[in-house]
């Protein structure tokens, strides 16, 4: 019991420290660093959404670029083409992401394991094809530019704080969710689907709901990304985006909430610094993925947890 309390206290202190750092640091660094931090947050939201499926429920998706991209394109089209406001674009982005997620989920949930992964990947390629080819709507290869933020958050720092509040909200909601009655069923499905069915759970329905939540929040990340970049292009929807999200979760620690945020932060900082020296950043990322899978299959958070258990054991012995 005491250990549990200490762990909770440690967690609260860690979250508070990260929040303080995230709120204060932009005041002391240059604008480029604020932009990088902002990227960490946006990709963090995407990674958190993916982790609900990958880490908590055991559904490996290689198609989250589709829902991210749908949110992004819906925002861009609404804002640049139809002159919609920030709030209107927000609503349409989430609805569009929800619709696309629902359709994809109906198809993909017929399969599981690696087949599920392949189907989510194929569906994401369809969305990519739409973005790439539907010129009149998406601007084709050129994408859509000129998406302006509302005046009130035009400057980099204000938008950064806006993103921070959204990301913190998502984190808070997810941490309530994963500990809830429903959240436990996610872990139950990861651990044993057949047992869950035998207990009386409609596993398909639970997976569908999780897929929807994950897809809608990925769309939210896409929305944030477009207003951050003021530009969207097919590259935002391609396989690399899905793969990057997968890597962030695996790197940080699937099945934890700190993991995806840690993973996205490391990934974004690494990606930005590697890009200064070489064009082969994908090669570097690929190598990191292999190292993680081989030596820390539970990600950095899993590694830390293992270390803590070991220290605990020596303490007791």
């Amino acid at each position: 019991m005491r250990g549990e309390l200490l762990a909770t206290r440690g967690r609260v202190i860690a979250i508070a420290a990260v929040l303080v750092f995230a709120s204060v640091s932009p005041l002391f660094v240059d604008e480029f660093s604020v932009l990088v931090l902002n990227q960490c947050l946006i990709w963090g939201v995407l990674a958190l959404s993916l982790d609900l499926m990958l880490g908590y429920t055991g559904m490996a998706s290689l198609g989250h670029a589709a829902y991210f991209g749908t949110g992004a394109y819906a925002t861009a089209i609404m804002s640049a083409t139809y002159g919609a406001s920030f709030g209107e674009a927000f609503l349409v982005a989430l609805i569009a992401a929800a619709v696309v997620t629902a359709i994809c989920a109906l198809v993909a949930l017929r399969a599981s394991d690696v087949y599920f992964l392949m189907i989510t990947f194929a569906l994401a390629m369809l969305i990519w094809g739409l973005a790439y080819r539907w010129d009149s709507m998406t601007g084709g290869e050129n994408g859509i530019a000129g998406i302006d933020r509302p005046l009130i958050m035009e400057d980099t720092i204000t938008y950064y704080y806006f993103t921070l509040v959204v990301a913190a909200g998502v984190f808070l909601f997810f941490s309530v969710l994963v500990h809830s009655c429903f959240g436990k069923t996610m872990v139950g499905i990861r651990e044993s689907e057949s047992r869950m069915r035998a207990l009386g759970y409609n596993v398909w329905l639970h997976k569908f709901i999780i897929y929807m939540i994950s897809g809608i929040f990925s769309g939210l990340a896409g929305f944030l990304w477009v207003y951050y970049n003021s530009y969207v292009a097919p590259t935002d929807v391609e396989l690399v985006t899905s793969f990057n999200a997968l890597l962030m979760v695996s790197l940080g620690g699937p099945g934890t909430l700190a993991g995806p945020l840690l993973g996205s932060t490391i990934f974004v900082i690494l990606d930005n610094s590697v890009n200064m020296f070489t064009e082969r950043s994908l090669t570097v990322v690929g190598c990191i993925y292999i190292v993680v899978v081989l030596f820390a299959p539970e990600g950095i958070m899993g590694f830390i947890k293992q270390l803590r258990t070991k220290v605990g054991e020596t303490d007791n012995g």
Partner: protein, 258 residues
């Protein structure tokens, strides 16, 4: 009560009724034309050598496998094509031959997941399972009965096989089923552990109907009233256990090995 008696005279009060049930895997006939009637409160055993089709038969009753032909009725309702989870809502619960738990969760979380399975609150995204008092108490009571409460915070995969088998039964019992399907409840247990499980099962509510696959003859004879013997997908004997024990064919193909 009267209505039940009335149904009884119709012959539809049988808890579980299986007609001509069969399963073919390609050319292989795993189960062929099996009929079975289990009355309310009856304890029925299914025995047979390896590969007799017992577990296949069992999985068709539980809903994990679709039969190639035949029908399954639960309390007069046709459940042949009903998904597994809906059968559980009708009062059916099962255990697995190969331990099937949530290995990375604590014992308490395992039982809690089972205890909330039939509750609407399982979709609640804001409240924890533990905050629902009656679900928590149900789990606590069941774990107390099986002497599992002291290990509630231990992770299931770290426990011995014996304890895991007990949790296997706890997960099925906490839902308070009317029909309990047990697939080799003593599989892999030492004689002492096996005796513990047997006495646990014997103490259960006498009104609970049980269908038990069992490999261990002593266990089967101790637990059930009637036995069905399967061999190569067919039923070769079905009746009171003493009769079955005396059956010549059964002795040849099953008991004769000892």
């Amino acid at each position: 009560m009267e209505q039940e008696a009335h149904q009884g005279s119709n012959g539809s009060a049988a808890c579980l009724k299986v007609e001509g049930l069969g399963k073919h895997f390609g050319g292989l006939v795993a189960v062929n034309n099996v009929d079975l009637v289990v009355e309310n409160g009856e304890r029925r055993g299914i025995i047979g050598p390896n590969g007799a089709g017992k577990t296949t038969f069992f999985n068709m009753i539980a809903g994990e496998l679709d039969p190639t032909h035949g029908k399954v009725h639960l309390y007069g309702e046709d459940i042949t094509r009903l998904p597994t989870h809906q059968r559980t809502h009708l009062g059916m619960a099962r255990t697995f031959q190969i331990t099937n738990l949530f290995p990375n969760l604590s014992v308490l979380d395992n039982v809690l997941l089972a205890a909330q399975a039939l509750e609407k609150s399982k979709f609640s995204m804001l409240r924890t399972i533990k905050s629902h008092r009656h679900i928590y108490q149900k789990a606590e009571e069941m774990m107390g009965k099986l002497n599992l409460w002291d290990m509630k915070n231990l992770i299931v995969k770290d426990l011995s096989h014996g304890y895991q088998r007990q949790i296997e039964i706890a997960l099925a019992l906490v839902e308070n089923p009317k029909v309990l399907l047990l697939d080799e409840p003593t599989a892999g247990l030492s004689p002492a552990e096996s005796a513990e499980v047997v006495s646990l099962l014997k103490e259960l509510d006498a009104e609970m109907t049980m269908l038990i696959i069992e490999h261990d003859m002593d266990v089967a004879f101790e637990l059930v009233d009637k036995l069905m013997v399967m061999h190569e997908g067919e039923v070769i004997a079905d009746g009171p256990k003493e009769e079955v024990r005396a059956n010549q064919t059964v002795q040849e193909i099953y008991l004769g090995h000892d």
